[in-house]
């Protein structure tokens, strides 16, 4: 008698026993007391519990239980591949027993009834799996020809990984829900975060079921999840290795041993030289080989002298921490399975259009992941916080629109907002008109123009903090260049024309009347380069024929500029103005770095500085978030208005 029916979607008593057994394993582990009166979830999520060091091992039990569940489902839905599912089930049983071996070593006889039940369950699972193996695996040594064994192994591995994600999701959600204060963020955020943690559970279950049925969506969902998982676990691994806090050391090591980069440059030179030779010349290959050797040797020397060996030693040292092992394995599993599944399109009957679609999404993935992690998440959180009285160290409580009303009663905020508008009004002409003029000059075909283009673009890529310090010196009333020039001009005029003009001696950074203008000058200087490049691109898109036609019609240069260049630059100008306005409304770095005085004088206080000050100096994060959202609304409205105006002008045109 066969233990399982041959038709799919048919439950046999054995199926039911398997499902029930695995479910009970999971429930017993997560919720029932396992030892010392604590549940498995508590062990996994409470670092202060006596079993905190067992955490990685404790993951094995729920992992095995979830795997067993999925394998049992596989047996129900996919009779032709029961041998694979039986094999997986056996693995689940083994993992469960391995867990008990490690756990028993640490606890001896201190196992509760639930714990013993779970352990016994795995023995039962193992026995069932062995029976199934004898019944299905041994009589059928070969797999169905349509699906190779490699694919089966991939599926099996995917289901194991999904099991891990399900366990991870449940445990993370349990950790979030059990935490008393949840980083002082309040119950709504806690609930939201808990639900987000359950997403991997949903994904694990859905994608596993779809994969078993060979549904194309199962593959896509799995690919997306593994890509995200790989990126997240990769970042976390780098963090655990200490790479992020050691970036300065890496930079220092490279800087101190930069001499070895000469070898890399020499290698590049040799490859360039080899490229100049004909393909038949035997020296082409030799030079490339030598270049490769020189380059590699230089890099190796650079790494060796830079302390790469010690670095590797430090990274290896981190493997004393069990988390590093788990994350490394997880990252490797994500990457390997993502890669393997990527090449399994044929098994899922993928069409060329579908292939093109996922390739597009893959290209977008880094941006989407970055957006979700570093933008969408904080954005949502700040929106929530703007309706609370959040301060550092306190659990926020809901205050409705109070922060928004308070902002409009706050004279300092209103002054900051006003300053920001004035800043913008000054910035736009100063950053757009010179950029247009510059782009017209740089559009000419004069030798060395590329160098000039690069020079004008430099301020846009230079760090504001550094350039602001230089500008602070330029603005210095005593030793500054600007006042020196002013003084020289006045002296020249007085001595030449007999006038008695006074030295203006402008207090650029302390006089409330000019302070904002000084900041605008720095900001405009920074933005001009970027705007110039945009205008340049726009200018190069205007057909030469239009200028020739205008010339034939008798238009001079000025008329050509007014009637050809300006109208055709309309879309570019619109884009430049919008980005400059948005940059202006968000100004923070320039006043922060340029103005030395603290507290920041009211005349130089901008809206973003105000929200920074309220958040980081006064700890009023709820209020600061409200200010941020008011500013967002302002920017959104201004941009929308600009779009409307531009559209109506386009219709008029």
């Amino acid at each position: 008698m066969k233990l399982l029916p041959d038709q799919p979607n048919r439950f046999s008593p054995l199926n039911l026993i398997l499902l029930a057994a695995a479910s009970l394993m999971l429930i017993a582990f997560v919720f029932l007391p396992l030892g010392d009166g604590l549940s498995g979830a508590t062990f996994l999520t409470d670092p202060s519990s006596s079993d905190a060091n067992m955490t990685p091992a404790l993951f094995l039990l729920p992992l095995a239980a979830v795997s067993a569940l999925l394998m049992a489902i596989w047996m129900v839905y996919d009779p032709p591949h029961r041998e694979v599912a039986a094999f997986g089930l056996m693995l689940s049983g083994l993992i469960g027993l391995a867990y008990f071996a490690v756990y028993a070593l640490n606890h001896g006889s201190d196992l509760s009834t639930a714990g013993q039940l779970a352990g016994s369950g795995f023995v039962v699972l193992l026995v069932i799996a062995l029976v199934l193996t004898f019944q299905y695996v041994l009589p059928r040594p070969r797999l169905a020809a349509a699906e190779d064994s490699g694919f089966m192994i991939d599926l099996l591995a995917c289901i194991f990984l999904n099991s891990f994600l399900i366990v991870l999701g449940v445990m993370a959600a349990a950790a979030v829900f059990q935490r008393e204060d949840f980083f002082d963020l309040g119950r709504p955020v806690q609930t939201f975060a808990g639900l987000v943690c359950l997403l991997p559970v949903l994904f694990g279950v859905v994608s596993s079921l779809l994969l078993i049925q060979r549904h194309p969506d199962g593959r896509y969902i799995t690919l997306a999840a593994y890509l995200l998982g790989g990126a997240l676990s990769g970042f976390y691994l780098l963090q655990l290795w200490g790479v992020f806090i050691g970036i300065d050391d890496i930079a220092n090591a490279l800087y101190q041993n930069a001499i070895f980069l000469v070898g890399v440059a020499a290698a590049y030179g040799l490859i360039w030289l080899a490229g100049r030779l004909s393909d038949k010349n035997p020296w082409q290959g030799r030079l490339e080989t030598i270049a490769g050797g020189v380059g590699m040797l230089s890099l190796l020397l650079l790494l060796w002298r830079g302390g790469a060996l010690q670095g590797i030693g430090s990274v290896l040292d981190t493997y004393g921490d069990s988390r590093v092992w788990v994350v490394t394995l997880l990252a490797a599993a994500f990457v390997i399975l993502f890669w393997r599944l990527l090449h399994r399109g044929a098994e899922f009957h993928e069409t060329p259009d579908q292939q093109a679609a996922w390739q597009g999404w893959l290209m977008l993935a880094p941006n989407i992941i970055g957006f979700l992690l570093f933008f969408a998440g904080p954005l949502l959180l700040s929106f929530y916080l703007s309706f609370t009285n959040d301060t550092v160290g306190n659990v926020p409580s809901f205050t409705g629109l109070e922060n928004y009303f308070a902002a409009f009663r706050d004279e300092l905020f209103l002054r900051s907002l006003w300053n920001t508008f004035v800043f913008c009004l000054m910035l736009v002409p100063l950053a757009v008109i010179p950029a247009l003029a510059l782009s017209i000059i740089l559009n000419s075909k004069i030798p060395g123009m590329k160098i000039f283009r690069a020079i004008y673009f430099l301020p846009s890529v230079a760090a504001v903090v550094g350039t602001a310090l230089i500008w602070r010196w330029l603005y210095d009333p005593v030793i500054g260049f600007f006042n020196y020039i002013g003084q020289q001009i006045v002296t020249f005029l007085n001595s030449t024309f007999g006038t008695s003009l006074a030295d203006p001696n402008i207090q650029w950074l302390t006089d409330g009347r000019v302070m904002l203008f000084s900041i605008v000058l720095l900001a405009a200087w920074q933005v001009i380069g970027f705007n110039t490049v945009l205008f340049l691109a726009g200018l190069q898109g205007i057909p030469r024929e239009l200028y020739e036609a205008a010339y034939v019609d008798g238009a001079g240069r000025w008329r050509q500029f007014l009637n050809v260049t300006l109208p055709l630059l309309g879309p570019t100008t619109f884009f430049v103005v919008i980005t400059t306005v948005i940059t202006g409304l968000q100004v923070f770095n320039e006043p922060y770095a340029l103005i030395f005085q603290r507290p920041m004088p009211e005349a130089a206080r901008t809206a973003v500085f105000h929200l920074y000050d309220m958040g980081f100096s006064r700890f009023e994060f709820g209020y600061a978030s409200a200010v941020a959202w008011i500013l967002f609304a302002v920017i959104f409205t201004v941009t929308l208005l600009q779009f409307r105006i531009n559209r109506s002008r386009a219709y008029e045109g």
Binding site: T55, I245, V392, I479, T510, D613
Partner: protein
């Protein structure tokens, strides 16, 4: 095929079990403590790193991780606040003295009173009394408090350009018959007369600088028990009018500008700054210079005692070890190592610590005693347990800018400022 499956199975099981083995290793691991302080430069980072390694080596069962805080684009304070909000702040960290109150009141730092009471080697008297009086201020009636221990202390001095004094035929500050505000004014006036681009005096634009003039005139930022503004009196007017006269008569570099660059460029006669500026001045000034105590005002000599403290994160998992680390970091030996940089004065008020400081930069001829004298007459910068210091600082600062820019008089400032900030004190 079976062989392939077997290998896969063995690999999977082995990989799954690896973390367990690591967990067994971890069970015998040490306590790890992360700590952070704000260094001003790479030299300080090196010294703190060395100090951390020395403590680590001598401490059984504890591993230390020193993290220099902040970066070019993210200030120390901003990073720390973000980490506290995220629950990832270090076990032990440094904060400025003015921040102690709000960190304590927000429940971000651990009250160490019980741990200190159980520590036989610890005595409050070992440290300067001013900072310790604030660090032991309780926020709950009937309970003792200890919010941390001071890392170091500092005071202002007048950095002067000896070459300009020689050129003007003036005695160096503090070396004449007297060293009062009148002498300061006269010296500034004489040096200003040396050239259009040469200024006599400069201060930077933050609270302690104008605060010195207020304190030395006999006034104070706060009332005696720090529960209200203390600037609404005639002495405030006297102090601010004197400072204002320096700006009005173009003897001082305009308020709001950084006075350090002109001083380092040799075009400024006197510049008030703290001890932290000494190493940088030594490295960058290519003229003869020295330091002198701040001049005596109508209310007597005055200065500030600047300080910051090592505090313990309230969420630390190892409070006992964290307290132990705080005491080790403020031990005479470690403070000696830090003091050798010359940027700070040890916070231990012992003669040994003072001698250690006086011995720094022995070949430079710098008048180290001026800073110690400053500490002896200094007003300790105060964490405000009964008010919102950042808001008060903003209000004070904006009004002071108006005074020094000539938009309001010192009298108007004294008449109105306390009403402006009244709402920022808890007692109001």
């Amino acid at each position: 095929m079976k062989k392939q499956r077997l290998i896969l199975a063995v690999l999977l099981v082995a990989l799954m079990l690896l973390p367990s083995l690591a967990a067994v290793v971890n069970a015998q691991d040490e306590v790890t403590l992360r700590w952070r302080t704000r260094p001003d430069n790479q030299a300080e980072i090196d010294v703190y790193t060395a100090a951390s390694e020395a403590i680590d080596e001598a401490w059984e069962g504890v591993t230390l991780e020193y993290e220099p805080g902040g970066s070019e684009t993210a200030s120390y304070q901003d990073v720390l606040i973000s980490e506290i909000e995220a629950g990832t702040a270090p076990d032990v960290f440094w904060i400025p003295g003015t921040d102690v109150a709000r960190f304590a009141e927000a429940g971000l730092i651990l009250n160490l009173a019980d741990l200190a009471a159980a520590d036989e080697d610890f005595s409050v008297e070992d440290f300067y009394a001013g900072p310790m009086s604030f660090l032991t201020t309780s926020i709950e009636e009937g309970t003792d408090a200890l919010w941390g221990l001071p890392r170091d202390v500092s005071a202002f001095a007048v950095y002067y350009n000896a070459d300009l004094f020689d050129e003007a035929g003036l005695p160096y500050p503090g070396e004449g018959e007297s060293w009062t505000w009148d002498d300061l004014y006269a010296s500034a006036e004489a040096i200003r007369g040396l050239g259009d681009e040469i200024y006599g005096f400069g201060i930077n634009s933050w609270w302690a600088n104008w605060g010195y003039f207020v304190n030395a005139a006999g006034s104070s930022f706060f009332n005696e028990d720090y529960t209200a503004c203390g600037l609404n009196n005639e002495n405030t007017v006297v102090g601010l009018e004197f400072a204002q006269s320096l700006f009005e008569n173009d003897l001082a570099i305009a308020w709001g500008n950084d006075a350090e660059p002109p001083f380092l460029a040799g075009t400024l006669g006197m510049f008030v700054n703290g001890r932290w500026a000494t190493p940088g001045t030594l490295a960058n000034a290519d003229f003869n210079w020295n330091v002198a105590p701040l001049p005596e005002g109508p209310g007597g000599p005055s200065n500030w005692i600047f300080w910051g403290a090592y505090v313990v994160n309230v969420n630390t998992e190892h409070p006992e070890e964290a307290w132990d680390l705080v005491t080790r970091l403020t031990s005479a030996e470690i403070q000696g190592q830090i003091a050798s940089l010359g940027a700070n004065i040890p916070s231990r008020a012992t003669q040994e610590a003072v001698d250690l400081f006086l011995g720094t930069f022995p070949d430079s001829g710098i008048n180290n005693q001026a800073f110690i004298d400053g500490l002896n007459v200094g007003v300790t910068e105060a964490p405000l347990f009964n008010g919102n210091w950042p808001a008060i600082d903003t209000a004070y600062g904006n009004a002071i800018t108006q005074v020094f820019n000539g938009e309001i008089t010192a009298q108007e400032f004294a008449d109105t400022i306390c009403d402006q900030v009244a709402g920022e004190f808890d007692a109001q």
